[in-house]
Symmetry: C2
Subunit: 216 residues, 2 copies
C-alpha cells in the first residue's frame, strides 16, 4: 500500500482441503487491509487462484506468490519480521514499536522518522517451528486468547496502518462496490457506470442476495 516499503503476509503452513478456506481468507484479508503481497505455501494453489481472481476483478496492485521455502523466506527476510501468535506480546503494547521499526510512525520531529523498512507478517497455519519465534523481531498476540488467524491478521493490519488502509484506492479494477446505507450497488470501474443489471448485482433485491463475494 505504501510506495516506500512493502508489507508482505506469509501464510506459514497449509493443509490442502482442510485449510483451503482459511488460507484464502488470509490472502483476501491481506489484500483488502493494505498488504502488498501474500506468500502461500506451494500446495495452496487453489487459494492463490482465488485471490488472484478477486484481484483481477476488484483491483490491485496486490501480488500472490506460491513458494516452497517458507523457512528460508523468514530466515533471510531483509526487514522486520512480525509473527502473530497467541503467546506473543500484546498488540496494544508493541504496535508503536512495530510502526517505528518499519518507519510508519509519525514522530514529533520529522527528522527523527525511521527510514522505511519492509515488513513480513507471518500467520501460522500448521505448527510453526520454534526458530520462527526466535527469528521474529516481534511475536505479537492479538489477545492472548485462542481465536482465528484471520481475525488476528485483520486487527494487526488495521492497527499497523492506523486505519489508513480503509481509504485505499484500487487500480485496474473491473468493478467497484458503492458503499451505501441500504443497497447492493456495483458499478463498472472502467466506465464508472451503474451496472446493477450485470452478473454482480443483478436481480438480487430482494431475494437473490450476493452480499458475499467471498470465495472459498
Amino acid at each position: 500500500m505504501n510506495d516506500a516499503r512493502e508489507v508482505v503476509v506469509l501464510r506459514y503452513g497449509h493443509r490442502p482441503g482442510r485449510d483451503d478456506r482459511m488460507t484464502t481468507h488470509v490472502g483476501l484479508t491481506a489484500r483488502a487491509l493494505g498488504a502488498d503481497r501474500v506468500i502461500f505455501p506451494d500446495n495452496a494453489g487453489q487459494s492463490a487462484e482465488t485471490v488472484r481472481d478477486i484481484t483481477g476483478r476488484f483491483g490491485g496492485p496486490f501480488a500472490v506468490e506460491l513458494r516452497d521455502d517458507q523457512k528460508a523466506i523468514v530466515r533471510e527476510f531483509d526487514g522486520v519480521v512480525v509473527h502473530l501468535t497467541m503467546y506473543g506480546e500484546r498488540v496494544q503494547d508493541v504496535e508503536t514499536a512495530v510502526r517505528e521499526a518499519v518507519g510508519l510512525d509519525e514522530p514529533e520531529a520529522p527528522e527523527e522518522a525511521s527510514p522505511p523498512r519492509d515488513l513480513l507478517v507471518v500467520v501460522g497455519g500448521e505448527k510453526v517451528p520454534w526458530a520462527l519465534y526466535e527469528r521474529a523481531d516481534f511475536n505479537v498476540g492479538v489477545t492472548n486468547q485462542p481465536h482465528s488467524e484471520v481475525a488476528g491478521l485483520a486487527v494487526f493490519l488495521d492497527r499497523l496502518f492506523d486505519g489508513a488502509e480503509l481509504g485505499r484506492e484500487w487500480a485496474d479494477a473491473d468493478r467497484r462496490v458503492v458503499p451505501e446505507a441500504t443497497g447492493k450497488t456495483v458499478i463498472d470501474a472502467g466506465t464508472e457506470t451503474d451496472s446493477a443489471g450485470d452478473d454482480e448485482a443483478g436481480d438480487d433485491r430482494p431475494g437473490n442476495d450476493r452480499a458475499s463475494e467471498r470465495r472459498d
Copy 2:
C-alpha cells in the same frame, strides 16, 4: 464485556461441514474481541461445542446459543442491529454513529451520553435475505472489498470497543497465556503457577509447537 449492555454476534446461515471452521472462528473471534454472546444456527452444533470448550478452559463470561429462528431474532431484536456486508457504508464513516447509538461514545458533556443499548452484530454466512438489509440500523462494510467475515467482525469489534476489549479480564479460566517476547508460557489460572510442563505448554520448545490453540 460491558455490564450495562450486551453485544451479541449472530452468525447468519451455516452449511454443516463446509462452514464449520468459519463459524467456529466467528464464535471464537466474538469471544476474544469483547462480545458477550454468539448465536449460531441450530445446525452448527459442532462449532458451538468448540467455542464452549474454549470458554471453559480460557474463561468467560461468554455465552453460546443455538437457535433456529434467525429471521425472528433479527426482526425482534430490542436494540441496535449492525449487519456487516461489503455493500454497506464504510466502517470509518459510521463507527462513531454506531458507538453513539449504543451509548459507547464519550461525549464532551457527560449528561449528553446516550443510554446503553444492546447491539446485535449480524455476520452473513450463506445468502442473507434482503429484509436483513432493511431491518439493520447500520449496514457496515469493513472495506467494500470481498475478503472474510471473520476479518470484518474482528476489525468492527476492535473499533466498536476502541481497543478496550484487548484489556479484558477473564473469569473462571483454567489456564492463562502469559504474553512474552519469545516464549510460549501457559499458567494455571486457578493457582497462577507456571504450568509449563502440562499438556498445554509442555514439551513444546523447540519442535512441538502448540501456538495454535484454535479449534476447527
